[in-house]
Amino acid sequence: ERTNLAGVRHILLVLSGKGGVGKSTISTQLALALRHSGRRVGIMDVDLCGPSIPRMFRVQDSDVHQCDSGWVPVYVDQDKSISLMSIGFLLEKPDDAVVWRGPKKNALIKQFVADVAWGDLDFLIVDTPPGTSDEHISTVEALRPHKLLGAILVTTPQAVSVGDVRRELTFCKKTGLRVLGIVENMSGFVCPHCSECTNIFSKGGGEELAKHAGVPFLGCVPLDAQLSQSLEEGRDFIQDFPKSPAFPALARIAQQILDGTSQQS
């Protein structure tokens, strides 16, 4: 029997031990960059307590409909080149807290994996909450029978973040999840007024961690007020701001993922 993930060529997880480092940001920008290179992309948002993905595409008011093979993912536009699934679409009111213990979270994640009719996708990106708990264990278990390419780990430069991401690397090792690379996000801020660069959250920790752990380093993404603004408004940063400070790094990350998959096949 054909599963709902049979048409998905590559599945990749975006992880971090640490909260607020930019997992959802990197997930959305990677999806947009891959879309701009002609790929069809889906994002599965398994952050059940803090689902950020819908707003980042300006589709937070959309509903999920059913079809014969299960749930129809929410398409970002008429193009249907980016599709999404998130608990954000299932809440009656956006401010409703999802106060669930592990077992109930696990059940919904299994449904997201089995029951969403993704169709044919080049990439399915799975955005996760911070940590190494129910959501992560359940997601990896549910995706194991499918084409799981690996995980991108996101950190910010400072030691406090890197400290948590080291533990996430251990999670990957223990669950047999291949690490595609580490992204050092919020790596420096260039003042738009005078171009002075300030390392607000320090610098270099992500690159050092990649070296220490023997995994690829995918690059440093600087803080970029236009990127934050685009995420707030659900705008396509990759299309609208190619000259903005974060663009080159984000484009390079997408290219490395594409290079990795073309090497595979």
Partner: protein, 322 residues
């Protein structure tokens, strides 16, 4: 709180949030038994143990946020330092972020271990009047991951509250992971045996953070946890060279100020970004001591004072009514 997954409930169903959830005779054979038992509220015997341990705690403040990475641990650490500056006060900092325990590093206590004594686990002391407990102290390597599902995390949180010998404490600060899940439900349930002054909720200015924080505020209402107020962190950045301000995390929907107005909660203060904050956290130093002249320091100090005032106003008489 923890709802049943669906399906018929037995006639004498004790209710999914009762202490008997999943354990009562009527639960046998119910399709939701597993779910209820996994998320069961602590039983009365356990609550009584917790009550005696926490009897000597005068004030408890939870530091929460729906959103990750907004500065909960940073704030918890600075709140602890700020309150412990008064040597006459005994301060306890409990880190219940089981997967991402940041507090040991931020307090300069990395590598410390927990010792057991006849009276329980000893907290690790930063100062004589500032004790800390975290799962970080139980891990032998910085690479050790705590890959636990909810019930095991709940078990450790209960142990932290039941087995740590805090002694007489003026302020117990509880640092939490982001979200509204096992850790949060459990700590609220376990702390129901003691007086919780309230929650301090941390956010950053942008809507992506606020949308999660509104959920956290709703969580507090649901579990009847008073909200002391909201702190807006990372509120603007002043370039050290040209002194012009940038809104790196833009308040596109009015920031915490608007949210607090709409939801009728206090805004305790706004704290600007300062590269020194992250540096001090990494080095395990108190930012308040290392950068006394920073605008962020005066913001933090004002906020800490407001929290202290709130706790003093809500001081219970010595004899707690059970």
């Amino acid at each position: 709180m923890a709802e049943a997954a669906g399906g018929p409930q037995p006639e004498d169903c004790p209710g999914s949030s009762s202490a008997q959830a999943g354990r009562a005779a009527a639960c046998q054979g119910c399709p939701n038994q597993g779910l209820c038992a996994a998320g069961a509220a602590p039983d009365p015997a356990e609550l009584s143990e917790l009550r005696s341990r926490l009897r000597a705690v005068k004030h408890t403040v939870l530091v929460l946020s729906g959103k990750g990475g907004v500065g909960k641990s940073t704030f918890s650490a600075l709140l602890a330092h700020g309150l412990a500056a008064d040597e006459a006060k005994q301060v306890a900092l409990l880190d219940i972020d089981i997967c991402g325990p940041s507090i040991p590093k931020m307090m300069g206590l990395e590598g410390e271990q927990v010792h057991q004594s006849g009276s329980g686990w000893s907290p690790v002391y930063v100062e004589e009047n500032l004790g800390v407990m975290s799962v970080g102290f139980l891990l032998s390597s910085p690479d050790d991951a705590v890959i636990w599902r909810g019930p095991k995390k709940n078990g450790l949180i209960k142990q932290f509250l039941r087995d740590v010998d805090w002694g007489e404490v003026d302020y117990l600060i509880v640092d939490t992971p982001p979200g509204t899940s096992d850790e949060h439900l459990s700590v609220v349930q376990y702390l129901s045996t003691t007086h919780v002054d309230g929650a301090v909720i941390i956010t950053t200015p942008q809507e992506v953070a606020l949308q999660d924080v509104r959920k956290e505020i709703n969580f507090c209402h649901k579990v009847k946890l008073p909200i002391i107020g909201v702190v807006e962190n990372m509120s603007g950045f002043i370039c050290p060279k040209c002194k012009k301000e940038s809104q790196i995390f833009p308040p596109t929907t009015g920031g915490a100020e608007k949210m607090c107005q709409n939801l009728n909660v206090s805004l305790l203060g706004k704290v600007p970004l300062d590269p020194q904050i992250g540096k001090c956290c990494d080095k395990g130093q108190s930012f308040l001591s290392e950068a006394p002249e920073s605008p962020a320091t005066s913001s933090y100090r004002n906020i800490i004072q407001r929290i202290q005032e709130y706790c003093d106003q809500h001081h219970l008489p010595e004899e707690k009514i059970i």
